[in-house]
Amino acid sequence: MNAAAGVKTLRIDERDFSARADETILEVARQNGIFIPTLCELKGLSEVGACRLCLVEVKNSNRLLPACVTRVEEGMEITTNSQRLERYRRSILELLFTERNHICSVCVSNGHCELQSLAQKLGMDHVHFPYRYPKAQVDASHPRFLVDHNRCILCSRCVRVCDEVEGAHTWDVKGRGINTQIISDLDQPWGSSETCTGCGKCVHVCPTGALSEKGRSVAEMMKRRQFLPYLTLMREDRE
């Protein structure tokens, strides 16, 4: 433990907790069995606060704060679940579903998808926004994997795992706003990427069916993520 970190005391959902000063609200909540939904966050990768699903209410703050990147502070009073938060979270999910073409019934990740299971868990029974139906492409030029931009939610887990764990930095992000897209190398077909090692880490950290192994039929793409904390741990030991 970092000796300088010190200990903070705080309240989450009207329960008292103590935590290290370098811990985030999300970490403390998880350690104590409090559920906060996340999509972009993954243990073993850096946090970016991209999906905004982990927003929580903090007393005396006039805005909602993302639990994954907000460090605990002394005397903090946090609410992880309220009608307002539920409504916002459902809206975020609805917007994710309308932004691209998420057709669960014929998706390789059907039944094993974090976006789908979160929508079920948070009670997203209707989508109140018009669907955009963009004409997104599938890049199947890689011999073993494919990227289906129709299913991508831009969580950037693939970008981070490739950069931080594999060290290749094949993936990156281009464009802004609604035109944002994940790209390999300098926006060239994945199959012609010179940096990709073909390790498949990006495929397995992807929360949806956007990255998958070729040849998988509908509902057959199971993601295995056990390697990530294990790899991180092994590297820390070596350092």
């Binding site: 014929v106 599938v138 011999p143 040849g215 509908v218």
Partner: protein
Amino acid sequence: MTDKAHTTVVIDPVTRIEGHAKITLHLNEAGRVEDARFHVTQFRGFEKFCEGRPFSEMPSLMARICGICPVSHLIASAKACDQLLAVRIPPTADKLRRIFGLAQVVQSHALSFFYLSSPDLLLGMDADPASAHIFGVFEKRPEVARQGIRLRQFGQQIIQRLGGKRIHPAWVVPGGVSEPLSAENRDAILSAIPEAQQIATQTLEWFKSTRENFREEISTFGNFPSLFMGMVKPDGGLTFYDGHVRVADESRKIVADNLDPRNYSDYIGEKVESWTYLKSTYYKPSGWLDGIYRVGPLARLNVADRIGTPLANQELAEFHELQRTAALSSFYYHHARLIEILYCVERLAELLEDPEILSKHVRAFATPNAFEGVGACEAPRGTLIHHYKIDEHGIMRWCNLIIATGHNGLAMNRSILQVAKHFVNGEKIDPSMLNRVEAVIRAYDPCLSCSTHAAGQMPLRIQLVAADGRIVDELVFPEG
């Protein structure tokens, strides 16, 4: 009389069929039916929107065409994908797919016969349309309705036991199937077979005993010479999963045999008409209109020399005696459907008793090795063909589907014309006349959502249209 000249009757929507359609009957000055058209009114576009998708998604994507026969689409699609992979699937996977397909035929035929057509056969063609449905059958002959539901349940439960769910299972995959069959599921299916066989036999006996009541319908329900097309085994036996295409004429004489389904475009022509979304097909060597042929249960039994199971084979021999020619009346679709149910139940038992059926080796893996594949099988309603082209990365670039109901497009049109000429007369439409027009369509058991890939609300409208295009009378079912 000029004001009475050329009237059109429109039946919209057509009821108790799968999908959406309307029928127009064109009357001449004398009030006699001159022309009839079966319009399929919706469009879905599966061939187009699957472009750009990975081929491995195709079986499940195509299964979404239909909630009644998703299994047939799964099988035809997976067979096309097997060709893209250029693999030979494990023998157990082949047998499991056959079981899946047979179960599908049982449930689909039971749906057609008991749920959709038995009201016509049991309650009569003149029955009040308000009570002509499965609940009406329940009131009059509860045991028949119950048996129909049991039989459909039998087929659906097999699909669920193998594929995990009854509708749109994703179990059939390129290269085989995704999961082997467990001993527990095999035993459960086997234990249900005696009851299913008894229902099939009893229904067949009952149907044969009432056939005489429908002489007028038999003689007018699409009773005309045409070609018949279906897949047969190398020995000429009935098959649903694999085989070559055979075409026979009205006297059951073989016109063409050993046709490879992969070369379907050599002998099947496709034509689009401006008044329907149904793509009509014809036998190319005979040309448009003369190349009219029928597919489905009636055609399969007309082209097959034998059925490989004892009880059904006996029934087939009797069926071949019905007319000196081939069984020409489309009313006999019902009869053929019942014989096929019996065959499926018998064949299911044979396949499930095979010791190899529990093998765990049920899938071959490969990356695409061919850019083009054609998969064909006999769906409940007839020959089903899926034709795919992919690029070097396995992405769909082109797709053509020939659906059973499309093969029957020309024959259905000719059949309603024959029925309408016989039963419809004058400017006032009598629902019982029109029910016969609908009933002949039901005999074909068309699945319009499959054949046009339609979406929207259900069924039938009949319009009586004058020569000047004026709609003189119109009936809509269900009303409102």
